[in-house]
Symmetry: C2
Subunit: 769 residues, 2 copies
């Protein structure tokens, strides 16, 4: 573990001033004023085929520069998932997207595009186009899509199943048989449902594209500039080096921008107008229906237990609603499955999991913070509470009895559970929420307004190895004053990446953080390769690249210091921005050496370092959420009274930023559990609430104070002891709230969000109202 | 010498499409629309002191954000010359500039600045300010400035002499004495005068500045981004790493933008308004009086010859008009002196040179294409013709008899005259201009309109070693398709640098030029260090960096190729974008290897290379200009009938671009010789023709077809055999024209430009009119 001078301190965000003053430049801020404006014509059916588009009237409108329809677009399917490329075809992402589609697969599918001199002209042109469709009934649920006779949405996906996998750990049937013979077996089974939700990043998807020296340049609000570049090239059939992607500041992504969204279309459009600048900015409505959403899951869980409350066998079946296009596809259901397989795997419990990822006519589901685990954890942690209730167990004791043991090593990822993180987190969470007292106290509530406390654990991996490669490259550039620019492809998308990279680089190099300048914008022409913001990978993988680059930079610095100070290199060190003798005497500031070196008449050198770190480890990030709720039974309303997330994210680089990350994740979890759901008209397949008025994203007014508590077990596989922080806080909040409602009311609600509609129905069935 | 596949071919400019379509982004194109606008209040006296500036009325005007005067500016002098920094104080540039000045040293000196919401408000504020001065008589010439009792313009410069140096090669007096005794001595003496001229780049000086994360960012039309950054930091008293300079496309510089012009002031202004974007764009008039000009020289030459036409001794005294501020100072006169010392140094001729660089109240003189040599060559090559006339010699034979011999090695620079370049160039020039026939034919002209042919040699160095360091760094970034980005700090300023770098990189790496993407904009945060466009250095020094980086890139590529192809590395090569076996069989395209390497599950690497090349050689670049003129004696007008420049610039990277460079240089030489001069009112010191109407820059209509002829002796010290190309064509044109007029009329005019005023006076004195 590296000596931490700056890591561990809550330094201010390096971009704080720019962001609070509104000066930070986002994509739209950078687009030139006379850019052409593109708008997309969206289908007004959910399932069918475009027969004809009449563009004649539209093309005659003043200001309209170009109209293209799905009949003009190249027949070249491409993948959109923001995964590292794999040269193994079997490991590549679904390749089912086209720039524009004649086969309409969702209400709002992209069937034509207009390029105009301004927004008004573009909008008028959209209204002037006439479309003829052949329409099929919309398939809005997995059940409808898998039903016999359902329209097949994609070639190669019979029954609309994108992918189906089954896994068995241990001998499932034998375990059950043995347990039955050995003293009885208790069975608990339920079905859980999670909604389609949207990321709701503040900055909508926006990009602008132009051509330069025969190449296509796309400036985009993306989490994954290097991956977006590859996908754009694939979509346009260009050599990948002919595409350049620039990523300015980004106003949130949460996984939605871990897909190539409209960058390929925008890139294509500029090529149709001779490379003029074309801007393509989505409205909030388009973001809702046309970008990505979280997969709605239907999860069947069945547990077989011994009377002592230990698992014999567990069965999991999940149906993941993929929506219209493949995007990240089956990998999201698969990641969820890993929670099932690993979280409660003690005592050689047999596990059987079967998952289906199914195309429907809803919005395309893709990556979203938590990547399948919020859904699975909602099911698993609700199910744990159902077992607890059925068996009369203590919820925490029951969990610990079956929990992944310390020392566990996952045979596939080699992930190791090094610490009793769960126990430590639960201990802190219990204390904060006053668990024991309130569990006892609220049990007796019987009035119309009751309180309850609930909890749920979460499990997460850090980064994506060994599913995909994990690489990050870093370049460092030494200035004459001893300050250093650092360049990584890992992206600042609002989460504070630039700040933690700055801190880690300062410590790794041996200079003050004020002397590290993180190059915030990525430009695939000059930014060293890395894959970007996803999988809670950046601090973990990026730190490996930073440390490796710093090692190379220091090596050069100290060799030049040997020349400059005439002392042997093994006696020298770089600490706090000074070249020192190892016993501590300052020989000169780094800046003095850097200046001498750069302008030296014999040995001039610009000291820079660049290297690729390939990370072949992964790290568990564990924790729990405790929630306290107040339920108004007659009104069927839940008020979140208190919520705490306890998390072992390894060593914290910046505690204040970490806290902010957790607060955001908890808010997202609360929305997932209590209010958010993208709804569709069952007849037309039209989204009903694709805007921030009707879609109930929680705001500050809907929350109590959110509390983040950390356990800091330094992760041994990471240079600074860090591991996943960004996504895990999103994972277990919904289950904790649901379990708190269960505690308050005795009613186990198996679907979220816990809106008044859902609760009223549940309370009615339970006889409470 | 490297195998040339692409070097030597006239490929189209890589930025041709962008530039002819107007799409290339220059500084002003990139400035945001709501930037604040800064304007400078210029002094309306040429010499004196600001006593008071009343800003009250101006400050009250709507839209005025901030006014600062010379009384607010920091008392921190800084240098402006675009030279590499030297850590040796004795070798640093004059440090006599402040952001705003109370001591007025030229008409138009910067005494206050306004920052306003728009140009109108800023202009109104300028007009509303009232200034009180103490005024002294303007010192417009070296003679006035050096006269006893003249006001001293700068501390530490008594007699207004910035610097004075004297050099003697051989024993001057002994040589003369010996020659007198040995058979007679002929003496020829004259005084030559050259004008103050301006660069007249199409894009005026423009920059905009803002702050980001506590640092100052300046986007500027500069030739020297890394140097400008250092100077801005010095001017503001900031650590150098706290400044970032970005250089977009540049619309010409010719040396004027090899100075920090208004970047320091602009940088300071943004710090006064909390880092808001402030744009500072000069008008053409401000460029004329307020940026830099070419030093006017007065040169005394005296030659001592034997009757056989060989030199015994030569004496040179030059007075260089520095104008108001130090800028590049004495180095320009010094460079001119080198022509005197080296061009005719055969037969152990003794040489004595004395030079003065003198402050005056005219525009600050700085670097301009040719850097002192157009002035000196005008004197020397006119003087050669005066000797020829006096002694009745053949001008070419006389020159060759005294010329620097092949094999000469300069003891200081180690520059070596490897080839009979002069002879080869003169041969071609003679043939093109039909010299022998016309020399004889025109001698008999006696009417009012006469023709003449004249010629002059030129001498130039390549780059600045060993006067200053010569470093260039290059970074190369390999893409998945086998294409490569190249990054250098050496700048494209219109001359075609990006194109020749592209060609050289293609050959050095072993790929097609279409697969090289030159990163055209420099950004000091990420661009490897280099010093920029000056001294005709970029192709020579940049090629060393390119070749060195390509070597490192190829090393990595071939090692990965060994892994990928399982063939020993010594059997592999990279040619034409393919990995081949050395006998020629293609094993795979580079792109296939690059993709495999980047995404390899075991050995993933982003292949990049970066290195600093320090060049410790220099190369002579020689040639000549021949001119044919028609002189209308009664009208005292010269028409340039034909002009050819013959140049050994080593191997040409891109012959068509080289030709364009030469044409531009010849045009500049013609203007210098015939029409250009910045004039001052002798009483007020006010510039009289600081605009493109009254200042007579030649246009296409003023020129005959300009002919460029090359001799390509590959320079042994250069990876691709190149040497100075950009500046030399400017050097000898004026003397060639002057000598042609002499041939036509028999009148030796010793000052330029040869305007009708000058010619009429000379013809009158000669009795022709």
């Amino acid at each position: 573990m590296l000596t931490a001078m700056c890591v561990g301190k809550s330094i201010p965000r390096v971009d704080a001033f720019e962001k609070v003053t509104g000066r930070a430049k986002y994509t739209d801020d950078l687009c030139e004023r006379n850019a052409l404006v593109a708008k997309i014509l969206h289908a007004t059916i959910a399932n069918g085929v475009v027969k004809k588009i009449d563009t004649e009237a539209a093309a005659r409108l003043p200001g309209v520069v170009k109209i293209v329809t799905c009949f003009d677009a190249p027949d070249r399917p491409f993948p959109t998932a923001g995964h590292p490329w794999s040269t193994d075809p079997a490991h590549q992402d679904p390749t089912d997207r086209k720039l524009l589609n004649t086969r309409v697969r969702l209400y709002g599918d992209d069937i034509a595009a207009v390029i105009a001199e301004d927004e008004v002209a573009a909008s008028r042109a959209l209204r002037a186009m006439k479309v003829e469709y052949e329409e099929y009934p919309p398939l809005l649920t997995v059940e409808e899509a898998m039903a016999e006779g359902a329209t097949q949405l994609h070639e190669g996906a019979p029954g609309n199943v994108l992918k189906h996998t089954a896994i068995e750990d241990g001998d499932f049937d034998a375990a059950i048989t043995a347990a039955k013979e050995g003293g009885g077996l208790i069975e608990v089974a339920s079905v859980y449902r999670t909604p389609i939700v949207q990321h709701c990043h503040i900055e909508n998807a926006v990009s602008f594209a132009y051509m330069e020296q025969g190449r296509v340049v796309v400036v985009s609000s993306t989490q994954i500039p290097h991956i977006a570049r590859r996908i754009i090239a694939q979509a346009l059939g260009l050599p990948w080096g002919r595409v350049r992607v620039i990523k300015p500041y980004v106003g949130g992504g949460f996984g939605n921008k871990q897909d190539a969204l409209y960058e390929p279309l925008n890139a294509w459009l500029t090529t149709l107008v001779g490379g003029r600048v074309v801007k393509l900015e989505l409205s909030r409505e388009e973001v809702f229906f046309g970008t990505r959403v979280r997969h709605g899951f239907t999860i069947h869980l069945k547990s077989y237990l011994r009377p002592d409350g230990t698992f014999v066998a567990r069965r999991y079946a999940a149906y993941s609603n993929q929506g219209a296009y493949g995007s990240h596809g089956h990998s999201i259901a698969a990641k969820g499955t890993n929670v099932f397989r690993q979280l409660y795997n003690r005592n050689d419990v047999a596990r059987k999991a079967e998952i289906w990822t199914v195309y429907t006519n809803t919005a395309t589901a893709g990556a979203m913070r938590g990547y399948g685990t919020p859904q699975t954890v909602f099911a698993i942690e609700s199910h744990m509470e159902d077992i607890v209730a059925q068996l009369g167990l203590d919820p925490i004791a029951f969990r610990f009895k079956n929990l992944m043991p310390v020392g566990y090593v996952d045979p596939f990822s080699k992930n190791t559970n090094f610490f009793p993180s769960f126990e430590q987190c639960v201990e802190k969470g219990k204390a904060y929420i006053d668990w024991d007292r309130k569990r006892a106290l609220y049990r007796n509530d019987s009035g119309p307004v009751r309180r309850g406390v609930g909890m749920a654990l979460f499990w997460y991996n850090t980064a994506v190895w060994p599913i995909s490669i994990e690489v990050s490259s870093c370049r460092m550039v030494l200035n004459q004053d001893g300050s250093v620019q650092i360049q990584l492809a890992e992206t600042e998308i609002g989460q504070g990446a630039d700040t933690v990279f700055t801190q880690m680089a300062a410590d790794a190099i041996g200079i003050r953080w004020e002397d590290v300048h993180a190059v915030t914008a990525q430009d695939t022409d000059v930014t060293p390769f890395g894959t970007g913001a996803y999988g809670s990978r950046q601090t973990y993988v990026g730190s490996a690249a930073i440390v490796q680059a710093a090692y190379l930079l220091r090596e050069q610095i100290l060799l030049h210091a040997t020349r400059y100070t005439e002392k042997p290199v093994e006696c020298l060190d770089l600490v706090g921005g000074n070249i020192i003798e190892k016993e501590g005497r300052v020989l000169c500031p780094l800046g003095e050496l850097a200046t001498d070196t750069l302008y030296h008449s014999e040995h001039a050198a610009h000291i820079t370092a660049e290297t690729t770190a390939q990370v072949k480890t992964n790290a568990y990030s564990f924790g729990c959420t405790f929630a306290e709720v107040e339920v108004d039974i007659p009104l069927a309303k839940v008020r979140l009274v208190n919520m705490v997330n306890c998390h072992d994210a390894g060593r914290l680089v910046n505690p204040l930023l970490a806290e902010g990350q957790v607060h955001g994740g908890m808010s997202m979890a609360a929305g997932f559990g209590m209010s958010e759901e993208l709804l569709y008209d069952p007849v037309t397949g039209k989204p009903l609430n694709a805007n921030l008025l009707d879609y109930k994203l929680p705001t500050m007014l809907d929350h109590p104070a959110l509390k983040a508590i950390f356990v800091e077990n330094p992760e041994p596989t990471s240079p600074f002891g860090t591991k996943a922080l960004g996504e895990p806080p999103t994972v277990s909040g919904a289950a904790a709230i649901r379990n708190a409602v269960f505690h308050a009311t005795g009613v186990a609600v198996n679907r979220i969000p816990l809106t008044p509609h859902v609760l009223f129905e549940a309370f009615r069935q339970a006889g409470l109202v």
